[in-house]
Amino acid sequence: MPENPTLVQRVLRHQLLWPVLALLVLLLVNVVAKPSFLDVRMQDGHLYGNVIDIMRNSAPVMLVALGMTLVIATRGIDLSVGAIAAIAAAVACTRIIGAGDEAALSTAVMAMTYAIVVCIVLGAWNGLLVSVLGIQPIIATLILMVAGRGISMAITDGQITTVNNPWFSDLASGFVLTLPLAFLVAVGMVVFTALLTRRTALGMLIEAVGINPEASRLAGVRARTIIWTVYGFSGLCAGLAGLVIAANTNSVNANSLGLWIELDAILAVVIGGTSLMGGRFSLAGTFIGALFIATLARTIPNIGIPSEVNYLFKAVVVIAVCLLQSPKARALLRVRRPGAPTLVKAGSPA
């Protein structure tokens, strides 16, 4: 850039501009429909209101999308996260029921640790298929997506398993420092990942693998290990999300838990501006994307539309975001506006 960009130009060119604007527009729609939408009040020692609900409900998608962001950055995709979430919930719930003291803190901790370890192993299995056997990510993770719900049902024996452990349900409905614990866990994971990838070389290495796996291998990057790691991490995030969902209802239904969460997570990643072609990724974008999806889910009943129609709006968002990112659609728009061709060209990121 030859001249120093002014603040306005920097804001206009910032990659988070569109996701943040979309989120603000959505909130504005809510406020117009219901002026008290943004009200937050103290009740029983913690904050209470729509915004707090959105925070709490965004936690599962945020967690899954976090792992998905890194996987997509390596030019992969992880379709199995919903199934892994169901397995995590099934493992944790059966462990809690099987333990001697069902309501104890140690039971909850042990069960959750056990579930998370299982999920890391499952994620590593995906990584094995992708990195060692060289199977396309979409196919490699499809296998676990198909089999995973069956495994989850085998663990719970096809029953809806209900647990009774206050510590476990605190994961979803508990509050720390007046904010929902689930949201804090998700934000904590995002911050942890951001530090890990942006304060060390790991993030750059992940981007290198995504941009050109062969070149990065020749440059001495251990592409195989990195791919293995991101799938394992995605498994861990999916497992955490599964635990949050199960804790929210204190039960696990292997058939429906985390159904289509992989699609929501991919949507959050795409809204956040990470390209599905791999390479550059934005954790802050994913954070905003997950909040957007949770807000959308809240908006639709708020403006008086049945909540099932949610899917229709998601479809519109997917198409809109993809068209915004598609170079061909941008080119089409540019032809329609012959006024400022050079400015648009300079502003569009490579």
Binding site: I135, G148, L263, I266, E308
Partner: protein
């Protein structure tokens, strides 16, 4: 056989020689493997459970999986070009809902069927246009299709609507007797779809272009093939097949419900892969997909004959089969490359 040495060119001797030394062409190996798997499962099942060897079981297999066969046909076209269609399960649900709702509103059954087929085809066309003209990945474009179709289904009705139209119920139970055994019309439609698709893929310019795109899209373009029309065309075909499968499914289940067919796209993809079609595109046959559906169907039948295994084993076994076929495919293509 006589001890006299016969020149190898002689017809009589070479017939046996040809049979003995016959090796099927490599491109048919995946289909033969799937067929062997099907026959093996059928044979093992026949030995273990009485009544499984009844030919009527085979007929019922076709009847119960008619919609999946049609879905598999559409999916084969898409996967042959190297794409994927995640929307088919939702389009099936949408089709049952449109059929049920229009019949409830008093439309004639034929107008209702036409509406279903037109909707599915139109959705396929939209996704194809997005994929080809805006370079959106098939995965994400059909994901939008999945949400869109499911959303429209919910918009029409959240409740289940049953189908009571006499024409529909008559069609649903219309049977043809072959000797002592019967087959439903739905299965015949499914088999006819397979036959038409096999002809189109093997004998028409469109079909050859589908294989060419799957092999290498850039080469196909440079050869002057009609890449754009074909690439959009396969999604139109997939959309049409999904709508037709939806009609067959609504005949099978006689209701429209927004919760129908969740995850059916996975079954369709699994059937195509088990049928030997390469997920990277360019290789495979609809006949293989038919066999893939039958393999999934016979597993379901075996589990229900057994009675002690729970239904979730179907998913686990499907996953294991998928894994086995994907790994074999992977090594087969690595050796050739």
């Amino acid at each position: 056989m006589s001890a006299i040495t016969v020149p190898p060119s002689s017809d009589r001797a070479s017939t046996w020689d040809r049979v003995r030394t016959y090796r099927p062409p490599n491109r048919y190996l995946p289909i033969i493997a799937t067929a062997a798997l099907f026959l093996g499962l059928f044979g093992v099942g026949g030995m273990r459970y009485d009544g499984l060897t009844d030919p009527q079981v085979l007929m019922s297999l076709l009847i119960d999986n008619a919609f999946l066969i049609v879905l598999g046909v559409g999916m084969t076209f898409v996967i042959l070009t190297g794409g994927i269609d995640l929307s088919v399960g939702s389009v099936v649900a949408l089709s049952t809902m449109i059929a049920a709702k229009t019949l409830e509103l008093g439309w004639s059954p034929y107008a209702s069927m036409a509406a279903v087929l037109a909707t599915g085809t139109l959705l396929g066309l939209l996704m194809g246009l997005l994929i080809h003209y805006f370079d959106i990945q098939p995965f994400i474009a059909t994901l939008a299709g999945l949400f869109l179709a499911r959303g429209i289904t919910y918009l029409i009705s959240v409740e289940s609507i049953s189908i009571k139209d006499p024409t529909f119920t008559e069609l649903a139970f219309r049977t043809v007797y072959i000797g002592d055994y019967y087959i439903r019309w739905t299965a015949i439609i499914a088999l006819a779809t397979v036959a038409v698709a096999a002809y189109v893929l093997a004998r028409t310019r469109f079909g050859r272009t589908v294989y060419a795109i799957g092999g290498n899209e850039a080469s196909a373009m440079l050869m002057g093939l009609r890449v754009a029309a074909t690439k959009v065309g396969v999604y139109v075909i997939s959309g049409f097949c999904a709508a037709l499968a939806g009609l067959l499914f609504s005949l099978y289940i006689l209701s429209g419900n927004s919760l129908h067919a969740i995850g059916m796209e996975l079954d369709a993809i699994a059937a195509v892969v088990i049928g030997g079609t390469l997920l990277t595109g360019g290789r495979g046959y609809v006949l293989g997909s038919l066999l893939g559906v039958l393999v999934l169907g016979i597993i379901k039948t075996l589990i229900s004959f057994d009675g002690t295994l729970s239904s979730y084993w179907i998913r686990i076994i499907t996953g294991v089969l998928l894994l086995a076929f994907v790994i074999v495919q992977r090594f087969a293509t690595r050796r050739r490359a």
